[in-house]
Symmetry: C5
Subunit: 371 residues, 5 copies
């Protein structure tokens, strides 16, 4: 049996030690060794590099103070690196704990003019489960620092857009870059939702074709996935709403409309997920009604067969009785089963039983039981 | 099988590319070539024309600065036209994206004194589905600009009213025209709701006459349509409420009562749709109870037939036994089934079985099983 | 079949034309010709008259400026009269549309110091449905104007109170008169609720005595009536709450306690209706459980009869077999069914079968199936 | 049949006349003749008396202006007394109507520095119903006036505390006395809740031992009682919360912590009642599952018996056929049922049937149907 | 039978006397004799001692005014000690009542700059129940006073952290110590939740393997435990939220981020518990569907057996009839059951019945009933 969704969902949360010092960086044993990337851009400038070590990255970062930098750290294995990041980018220990802990609801915290944002990237896996990875993001005057535990992410279209220099992204501030990252992350929910929707329709088709025992369990699993993604999207929406309520210092007025746009997307996602919730509910109803209908059908077959043959069996049993035609004194007793001795007795009886069958079948036909 | 409502509902949302530049105008492949209409009016002035191209429309628009104009663009195929509209009417790229994207919740955005409003026009189709099209609306000092993807809409009664010059519509400002459009769009919900209600009653009649297997699926589909229209009407109400909370600059005081009026209509629609939700819920209950009742009826037929004939079959089996009257020594054994040799044995037995049947039937009659 | 509650509920709303001019007075074809009443009072003064035409009413109204007047218009057929009322009492076209449209949620609008209030009068009909009529009320410095579509209403006790001069009603302002009307209208909900409650108990008794197929449908209809009255009472409460939040100019301080009192009544009604909602829910549960119990009973009868007789039938079938005692060579074969030739074979078998029956019955008795 | 809870709950509300003058004192026909009590105390002073008539009570009240007085009126039969109370203690007619009307939600009204508080005292009766009586309370500078319709109440522990002079109650203000009364009334909810909880467990035990038809009806009645007490406790909590939000003039700062304490108790009661709601819900689930399980058991017995004996009956029927061994020409036909003539035919058949039974039983045992 | 969860949950609440003086310290009969602990620390200073009596503890406390002290009282048996604590640490009688009463929702009260906090420590017991103990906490300028009824608690990791001097805890203020205690208490919810989750999966496995009668009852018990822990965590979250809204005087700005962190943990716990609620709901659904499926299976076995053998039994009964081949006049009657005298009659019949069986089995196979 594959691990249940609940198990998947709660594992990350529960893998924390009780009573540890707040801000204690509890690096998972499966953490990957960190890889360091930086994209630097400024109008015509565009550089995208992977760095061997943190020192060379910082050197490159410091050498171009006029440019915007997207520093991208993937993998948390190196505790020392984490501590240097905390120092160089003024990250609070509790925030770094949230980054590494790797199960956090989407949220935003502001610290002066700097933002700390946690988002979740979702994919719909082959096993029909919602898989969600965390991406943490810190903004600064001329940089955005993102941290994620895996090497793979969904941000390549954005990297390509910066490289191509399409749109005004190279000319805009670091907060616009943060917006662009949030936008791509949220855009990635849509294909996951589409796959989830297709899977729901697959199950619905199964329901009509071959409603197996396993199906209900699959439907209930899907229901839980829908509830799970709902529990991710709502705080996502709240997070963006909180950003929208921030003042000029954090979110310049001309960028507000962009955050309003991803807010609209989040609300659309909530509409979608509520829609799926309805769908999965009616799937359960349909399943139970199908089970009930099949029981009904079984009952009908039993009833039709029994109702036709039980009276016939009685009749043939009747003429299997041994009432004696001959009295002990040898006289013929004309009252004891004279039918048995009638020349057309058997044929008449067969005809009568045929009529009973026809009558029964007609009765069931009228009741609509034969469809 | 027709596409499920979910599919219809989500298709539009999901047909967007991940990671595209914000404000990127993603023209659908099935978009229609644009048609350009303008109605100009001012007291006695009334002109309604379709224009060959955008230049001639703009020329006519500019030549009558004192009049009010309703510019009406239908079909989004021409990307260049869209970009010229953005330029001439100061439309933000993200707003134009919302227009073309064609699935947006009803909403209003204010930008200085100008409003950007998205509404949805609903119809109830032959396939018993709620079909909804988007109409986008921009207000300006002396114009209203509407955009829609189809050539057909529900605004002809309003066009006729302007032409006839009935009421004060020709003398009022462009914001009144915007109100009039919203009013007509919302009025169109009522006949759609009426048709949905009639369909619900049709299903209810079916339920009592011929509750087929397909019916539950139809009821659940209807339920989803009701949920869907509910999800459209609530933001519609919120939108109008937001307009009502705007200040004097956007909504002059003497027009406020008109928006209050359509707010009341929106609340009535919510009442109606909640009513339908109750109705569809009780349809499901009735369906399940009907299924259960029919199973009960099947069981009763089986039980009555079995209960009458099984004892009778036992009796006739009894007298079909071959206990020997003659002992091996040729003596008559008076204890072995003397009934069989009694002159009235057979007749008495038939009478006894008749009594058993009458007794059983009376018992079932008293139990109320024969109704 | 009587029209379903849904039909009744929605007919009024849906009988409006799409795209009509706002404030267009759409007089129903079944409207009654108007009757005009006025009660005038002031300390010792008391006059109650029906007027032939509007002019004589206005003459009487104008001739006693120091008195309070309750002008009471019943029937909307005369469009011209409506327009004169709008003119003389400064009623906005949209408000008059609400009056005539005749399906409006309870609401209050303030316009300077004047109030426009819509209430609904409910009765519980013979067909066990909630019937609700609208009464519209405008207040002015020395008058209250009420409008209703029917000739009959529930305000006679109030008219009698004014006539008798009981209490201080004759000495109080017109806003007190408005309060008194709202109070009587709300008081009328209580007997309607009582009748609804009695009907619910009637259905509950039926449930235990004779749970017919029709009953569930009646219970679900009742449920919808409860939901419907709930949907009327909540805005009624909100309306009164809104009045309570108005300032001194609209509601003088010494009258506030009276409106607080009807607010308490509205809250009691909500308690009551929630109570009925619980009741109808448990009726549905009881119905379904009863259906299930009866199926159980049917099953038990079948099972008891079958379980007793099927083994017996086997036994008698056993001794109906024709195994031959005589071998082909004429020898007696002592192994083939010697029981049949035993002198006490038949009697012993009957006794054995009697024991089987007693054992079975005891088993069922122990299982508690015989109760 | 005992009156249903609904009947009990609604009787009081509905026993009011429509259209009566607001503040009209509608004395019930079953009202008791009033009894007048007063407890006066002040440090060392302590007097507790029942008075013959109102004049002597007022004389005693006026003669000790420096003391605190708890005036306690029980029984509303004397309308004149009520009117004198209204005059002497400045009680508004509408408030006195609330007192006598005797069904009011818990609420508080402030009038200057004076409070008018309505509480409900609950008990759990022998008939397993929540019985609630109203106590109305007016505070004044040096007195608390309580009114109740019955002679019995739950305040004796408080009277005893004042008499014993325990705590600081004799030294505190009249508002502290009001607090003490509210506290004792609320404390009385806990034993009622405990009895209700015990009754719920009793029903749960019945469920497992002897799930009769009546039980579901009892469970649903209990559910309604829980809903009913919930509907009393919530406004109780709101009332105390409203008192907590009053300012210094009504509730002195040093008494605030006492009201905070009873607020905590009210919240605990809500927790408890929500807990019981869960419990009764799961009782319904368990009941329905038990019914279903028993049906299952009945079905199993039927199926086991039928499945064992129906094939056996077929076999014995087979050898009851009369295929003739002798041809018309007197030849032996070796193909027609030779088994019947085999010396070990009968014994072999009995053995075979025994094997069939063993096989069937083993099959059911493997299926787990025999447990 | 073990005591039901409800009983456990309500016992504490209900064990209070009605009408007792507010602030009356009602020491439970099972209270433990108090043990007194104090941890004192200040940079390098670290002392952890258990004291014989209260006087020696106070002497040590007073002798080190510059240090921070964590005074830890376990066991409430000594009423005199409680009263001395109230005096020395200015604890209000009502607060001490809350401490001893031992069933309080998590809450915080502020009194000047001092906080009074009640938390609940949860564990998941062997009997699969949520067990929760109360810890009460008072803060002062240089101390934190905690009170608990048991000797065992979950705070040892924190004591160890102070001893080891890890982190900055020794250098921080007493409010930080209070935070650290709340943090450890809340961290303890996670393993309890994990155990609850594992138990839920155990039940789910049982459901598929051996769905016994007892299982539903276990599932419903688990559901109630989930509801119960939910009712503890929500006020826990509200409590921390209230602390976050306090001003600088209570919570210094630099500590705010720590309370924000435990707020995030509380929200995660709510997510988790909502997740478990979904899980237990779908367990109930699965259980009921399993019951229904098994009934279906029983029905199918019965129907297959009956449907195959009933017609066969009819056939063999048919040829067990005694229609006489010989007329009374000795003539052969060729119409009365000639099959019985046909040389291949028996063999043909056996073959025909074999065909009927094969046909039936094929029919059921096609219906999918044999899987």
């Amino acid at each position: 049996m594959t691990p249940s969704p609940t198990k998947q969902f709660t594992k990350n949360i529960l893998e924390r030690k009780v009573g540890q010092k707040p801000g204690f960086l509890n690096v998972h044993e499966h953490s990957l060794p960190p890889r360091l990337f930086m994209v630097s851009f400024d109008g015509d400038l565009y550089e995208s590099r992977e760095f061997e070590n943190y020192d060379s990255l910082m050197a490159a970062f410091v050498s171009q103070p006029q440019a915007r930098h997207w520093i991208d750290v993937r993998g948390y294995q190196n505790l020392e690196l984490m501590e240097r990041l905390m120092l160089d980018f003024q990250i609070h220990a509790l925030q770094m704990e949230d980054v590494i802990n790797d199960y956090q609801r989407p949220k935003v915290e502001e610290d002066g003019n700097r933002l700390f944002i946690i988002s979740r990237m979702v994919t719909f896996t082959e096993e029909h489960e919602i898989d969600d990875d965390q991406i943490s993001l810190f903004t600064g005057p001329n940089y955005v620092l993102t941290l994620q535990s895996d090497y793979e992410d969904c941000l390549n279209p954005l990297r390509e857009r910066i490289r191509a220099g399409k749109g005004s992204i190279r000319k805009k501030s670091s907060i616009y870059l943060a917006y662009a990252i949030l936008d791509v992350v949220l855009d990635h929910y849509f294909p996951a939702m589409a796959q989830l929707g297709e899977y729901a329709e697959e199950l619905e088709d199964c329901l009509f074709e071959n409603p197996s025992k396993k199906l209900l369990s699959q439907i209930l699993d899907l229901k839980r996935e829908v509830v799970k993604i709902r529990r991710i999207i709502w705080p996502e929406r709240d997070k963006i709403n909180e950003i929208l309520r921030m003042d000029e210092a954090q979110i310049p007025h001309d960028l507000r409309i962009y955050f309003k746009d991803i807010y609209d997307h989040a609300v659309q996602l909530i509409d979608l997920v509520d829609n799926y919730r309805e769908t999965t509910s009616s799937l359960t109803d349909l399943y139970l009604s199908n089970v009930s209908n099949r029981m009904n059908e079984v009952m009908k077959v039993l009833t039709i067969i029994s109702t036709i043959f039980i009276p016939l069996s009685f009749i043939v049993g009747l003429y299997g009785m041994n009432f004696s035609r001959e009295q002990p004194d040898g006289e013929i007793n004309p009252l004891n089963m004279p039918e048995l001795y009638h020349p057309y007795g058997y044929v008449t009886l067969l005809g009568f039983m045929g009529l009973v069958v026809v009558g029964m079948v007609y009765y069931f036909y009228r009741k609509g039981w034969l469809n």
